[in-house]
Symmetry: C3
Subunit: 347 residues, 3 copies
């Protein structure tokens, strides 16, 4: 990528920027600040890495104005360096865009596969499936009856999408995830569990990304919904009838029990959990391993089990570390009072 | 479904009921109370939804006698509405019952596939496998050597069953689950881990349901056993030599370490854990995120880590929220005693 | 296995031993101490099972010298019975060693498959893959472009290895695990998440074992590294750029957030978690469900959330169980002081 290409790319993406450096650029890929060579693009975001910025050999560093004096390399000064880096990394590392249907794929005769799509080896596509333009379906995937995919979806190997589920445009499903499996719906009767068929769907919006081996169950009667712009990590469990609001991010191994409603722009750190039938407001952040047991009506950060506002949790946690000390203080107090009583009686 | 069909179905299933309503019924499916139309069946179980019951347009509402006055719709009055609803939902939404062997399936020549079975695309069935009548094996499944399936088992796509494992009748394995993988058996020696081949099996009883991407490891020398009527949710881990007793229910992301023995009719909420070599009595309920670190000899509810009876845990949890307050109380007490001492000395 | 074969096997493996028993041995497999017959090998390691040792009918018992008087069976006396048992169990139960390429496999024309390898049904191998001698690739596996496998690797069914990842020799990947999936790398911008392509690899050393449905994400720019001799259980999540040091053991459902560096010979019990960008010293043991939130510079055992040294955690846990009692003690103290004050005033 030469300088004029870079400037055109930034302009196309409506990025405000200032460029400081040489006119001769020949950039071939993105790289880590510490190891980048004169043909590579790095970014600087973390003030703790100032020494690496000073010594970097990168061909271009993307950074904020306040740090631009720390390097003599070519500089691209922007407001959100990480974002601009992401765009350039995507430019240099596009998602696969193969075309054609592998002869080993088993595609029902009723399905129209656009010429812009790729259907990999051993993929199985059942009747009634609708595929948008440019979809990439990797080896071993299964698409059940009447599944709908929007444009430019990418499915990693061995992904399963069960019947009737709907994906928007530019949805990414990493390897091994299961969308629309039957959830945990059973009626107890005389020591047995009677299965409740799950006849809702999973509806996934646009620009959603779902991680490896994650499971999202179909709704019982209505639908499980993942709104636009959500990102979901590996080994996450989302139960039937859950709704995840626009732009929420869910880290690995987090779980949502049935019918929970999560607002927009929420963040869940790893191994968090949410019990069933709760409502979680927009803008909530749930910290690692926290367990939400009541509806959260206010945005903000929550920690612990049961989850409480993180500020309170931190105070309690500090105290909890001192429980041993508190117990000894109480013992001392009891002793002091005993002595006082004795002294009082003596007087 | 017309009224006479409904009555016959209830009679076949030995349901005690009272019907109140019109003779003309034309029911086509089950639906949610709030959205059901005059051709749909809904059920009412949750007193919080009384307003929905009053306004429902359902063609039939299944409910308890005490609520029957709240609606003018056709009513089916039974003792356990959720159970009767489940039976009707199954009637309207049966499991798949395809037949035949897809030409892309790889079935060892030694295996007899009953004509009532369905073997989907790209399924691999190794030598010595025994299949009961009516089994449905979805695309991409793998059945290792000498696996045995009872009657009417349903396997979702990409399920793996390793060699020698045994399933009873009417077992449901959801997509991507792995039955009989090698567990975590290694002998430490000079900074290395020496693999212990796991030569036991997984034995699964009748009417068991296992969730998406769940893993159940084979036994080391003896077997891992899941007894009849158990239901197991997504992303659950069951280690080697574990035994889960009849009718137990295990919610998502729960884990059992090796050789734990779980009694009958136990319930584990999501993200719970059980350490190895414990015995858990019949009728134990373990709450979400709880960690069981000692054998539990009494039925009842347990919470926290280490898990204790839920009643005790709740009291401690309330106190834990007040730790900051307790610390201040102690400080006040220390101050009071100081003052008392001074006053005493003055006298 | 006869006696001379046994002695030769021990000698080949450089085991110091003493044999006490008959010359006529005809051993056919390994078995549990309690159930072993006269043709089976058992081991004794657990002093709690002395009664089983006294009554065992095993054809050979592997045990330490101090217990050799407790049985009259043939005895193999060694320093580490579990290790010697593991070696013999492997001898009797070798990993599969099939050969050939199943006709349904889809192997890119550029790939040289050594005659000693097995490529199972429906396996997909993309261009540029390098396979060591003796690799066993089970049904339904996917190996992306330029993946490298060392010698004698075993992949269970439906394993996914994404492009460019590298495995050493004798690596075991259990069914359904995903190596090299894209991790959770996104830049926030105006309420959306912009994907950061993950262009590092996963590098796995020699003698590593990875469990069923576990996910190990590729590095962002550099690599995710699993060093030699690590063992990793089922449903574990290892995020991008993590490094796990030599010989570490990670139990089921544990998770590591991005860029954490774990030392050598560490042990993580089940459902543990480690937040991102931490350094964990060699020789650390993290107990079940613990959450590591700060770097751990000292070897030793850690528990709780946030994780602290296990000794401290245990003291606090005992106190935490008594919080209710402590609250009552404080109440009593307050009452006592009130009374003292009154008495003092009266004087």
């Amino acid at each position: 990528m030469q300088k004029d290409e870079l400037l055109e790319f930034l302009s196309q993406n409506e990025i405000e920027f200032e460029y400081q450096g040489k006119d001769a650029l020949a950039l071939t890929k993105v790289a880590d600040l510490e190891k980048a060579t004169s043909q590579e693009i790095a970014f600087f975001n973390d003030p703790k890495r100032k020494e690496q910025l000073k010594s970097t050999q990168a061909g271009l560093v993307i950074l904020k104005a306040e740090f631009s004096d720390l390097t003599v390399c070519n500089r691209l000064i922007v407001k959100n360096p990480y974002y601009v880096y992401a765009l350039l990394a995507q430019k240099f590392n596009p998602l696969p865009s193969q075309k054609g249907i592998h002869p080993s794929a088993v595609v029902d005769g009723s399905v129209v596969v656009p010429a812009s799509c790729y259907i990999g080896p051993n993929v199985v596509i059942e009747s009634g499936v609708l595929l948008g333009e440019g979809c990439q379906i990797s080896a071993g995937c299964y698409l059940g009856k009447n599944v709908t995919l929007g444009k430019n979806c990418y499915l990693g190997p061995n992904v399963v999408i069960m019947n009737d589920c709907v994906l928007g445009d530019e949805v990414i499903l990493q390897a091994g995830c299961v969308i629309g499996g039957e959830g945990f719906g059973f009626a107890p009767q005389a020591g047995q569990w009677i299965r409740i068929p799950q006849i809702g769907r999973v509806i996934i919006g646009n620009h959603v990304s779902i991680g490896n081996n994650t499971t999202i169950d179909r709704g019982t009667l209505q639908d499980t919904v993942i709104e636009d712009d959500c990102i979901i990590d590996n080994l996450v469990h989302i139960a039937h009838n859950v709704k995840i609001g626009q732009g929420s991010a869910i880290a690995a191994q987090t779980g949502f029990a049935g019918s929970s409603q999560v607002g927009k722009q929420c963040i869940f750190a790893g191994q968090a959990g949410v019990v069933g039938h709760l409502k979680i407001s927009d803008g909530v952040m749930v910290m690692a391993k926290a367990g939400v047991t009541h509806s959260l009506k206010q945005p903000g950060s929550y920690s612990g089990f049961p989850a409480i506002p993180t500020g309170e949790w931190q105070k309690n946690t500090v105290r909890a570390k001192n429980l041993q000390k508190m117990a000894l203080q109480i013992k001392d107090l009891e002793q002091s009072i005993k002595e006082l009583k004795n002294q009082l009686e003596e007087k």
